[in-house]
Subunit: 185 residues, 4 copies
């Protein structure tokens, strides 16, 4: 079943950084949520995804839109633990709250990543003011298109269902990392 | 009197390129209009403004949003006549309709530019589906912010007045051209 | 006969801008010469070639290396005359001497362009301290490779012939302009 | 005493990656050496320094020039150990040999970094064919200038001493990381 247009399930996390307390998606109702799935050693996340997430945070009022990072480690687990992530956040000066996705020792794919059907990193998920997932994309999205979608979601005040898109097309299908993305096994 | 939130007056033009017939703003009611004021020898227009206008045209449905160029020549008039502009449009592969702003031999500032209060090039003017000017800016605007505003305007279907902004802050105040813009006398 | 490794013939010009007097290649012996062939309405010249030529001028001592522009108009002649070029030079703040290639009314390809075998714009020609053409390229060349070649030419003090390259490979072969270059008929 | 124009001392390393055996600078005599000091969590290294090092490796013959990475960890030591570096090298597809600078538990500044007087990351050190340090820089250097220096060093065949530069000017003096560099304590 597609998650698109359904209420987003809660994040399953092992920890949070850049916030004093755990953040639930439920608590963000009324705001648009920009959820950015990344790994600190994913080149495309470092080059494009995370700077874009920071730019989104600066471009919109925090009353209207919340930016949440989700560290979805599915490879090189030993090199991307919490302490390494803290160093990374410090050096890259990331300001928005970042959740650490709950590891799944069996599959190696963390639980929120599984639940949201994210195929790799970077991934973005847009959630509307009523909590519905309205857009999901794996790989790069340009600023103009992203800005347009966020602008439309911010402009919504009613609870009518709107058309939504699950865009898988922009990223390479080979497992592993290339300059655009990392794909999970 | 500010033009912001008022119905946009019609363009005053001496000619049109990239279109079979004259286009009135009146005829575009129901669509969002992205009006891009430029000069073919303005470096910031060539580097940023015109590529952004082309990207806007590609990012939105032409049923929802119309991109219109306005060649507002206020300097080096002899080097930016209609034939030179046609060569420029050909070489830069511009696809959207482009109006030639009506020269004013007295002031040197063309008439639409005067009427819309444009201070130089590049300038953008956003007009909503009901024909109201909703945003005017001289100088560079980033894709994320522009996309967000266009997304919000596209999302509007009612005729309620919305807050608007007349943003003059991003451009240098010295007359002449720099890497960001050209300012009219 | 290839021009590579032979003494560069003199430029054939109708006029010069950004200089008080005509400049002969003969008068530049002892310096490396970076000759940049461009057209003011060639997009790749505006985006890459001319900024690179300005960067070369700033990166090297003018005692060691001379940057010379050559306006080789082979299309849209009416839109790229001397007065238009002066406006262009002013707006783009070009500082180096620029020769206007002598028109050939018969072929439309100007005479220096013919003589140096330039296939379109942008083109570069590197001339060593003894006046030999050492490198010729049509289309984009990256800064690292260009810097390396210029560094090697600047380092030469003897008159020994060195291997040279005539690189035609980096540009598209279709006539007309694309984002990388303009090719002459 | 300045190291400039003196024979480079040997690297003091705890390990090597991307090579089957330890590499001594002595063994590289006859080639120009481009030594790139970096940290895997230094943003400017990831954005500028390492891509530039890879580009240098591609632009020059490996018979003429050797690119060597030096992982000079002076902060967040726990997050930048050997296994994390291996994951980083894999994801960023670095191909050149990389030495791990020998830690100094007392100061936290690794030993090669101390010995070469490197102030932070990214840093570059250029060594000529005879083994002399000819250029040292902390912070960003543009491709044109770097290419020019490398071209001049590659062009040298004699053993005459040449003027050299120790350029500290391009980087910010505040300790910690900014978008241009990381400075050691």
């Amino acid at each position: 079943m597609s998650l698109i247009n359904n209420i987003a399930p809660e994040l399953i996390t092992s920890d949070w950084l850049n916030t004093d307390s755990v953040i639930s998606l439920q608590s963000l109702r009324g705001k648009v949520v920009f959820l950015h799935g990344f790994q600190m050693l994913c080149p495309a996340c470092v080059t494009h995804g995370l700077p874009q997430a920071s730019a989104v945070r600066n471009a919109f009022s925090q009353q209207e839109l919340a930016v949440i990072g989700l560290h979805t480690v599915f490879e090189h687990h030993h090199a991307m633990g919490k302490e390494a992530l803290k160093a990374f956040i410090h050096e890259y000066r990331l300001r928005f709250p970042i959740a650490i996705d709950m590891p799944d020792p069996v599959s190696g794919i963390p639980l929120s990543m599984q639940q949201f059907g994210l195929r790799g990193t970077p991934s973005i998920l847009l959630i509307d003011r009523q909590g519905h997932i309205r857009f999901r994309q794996f790989g790069h999205i340009d600023d103009l298109k992203l800005g347009s979608m966020l602008g439309q979601l911010v402009a919504e005040t009613d609870i009518t269902e709107k058309p939504a898109v699950d865009n898988k097309s922009s990223a390479n299908e080979t497992k592993g990392c290339n300059e655009h993305s990392c794909i999970s096994p």
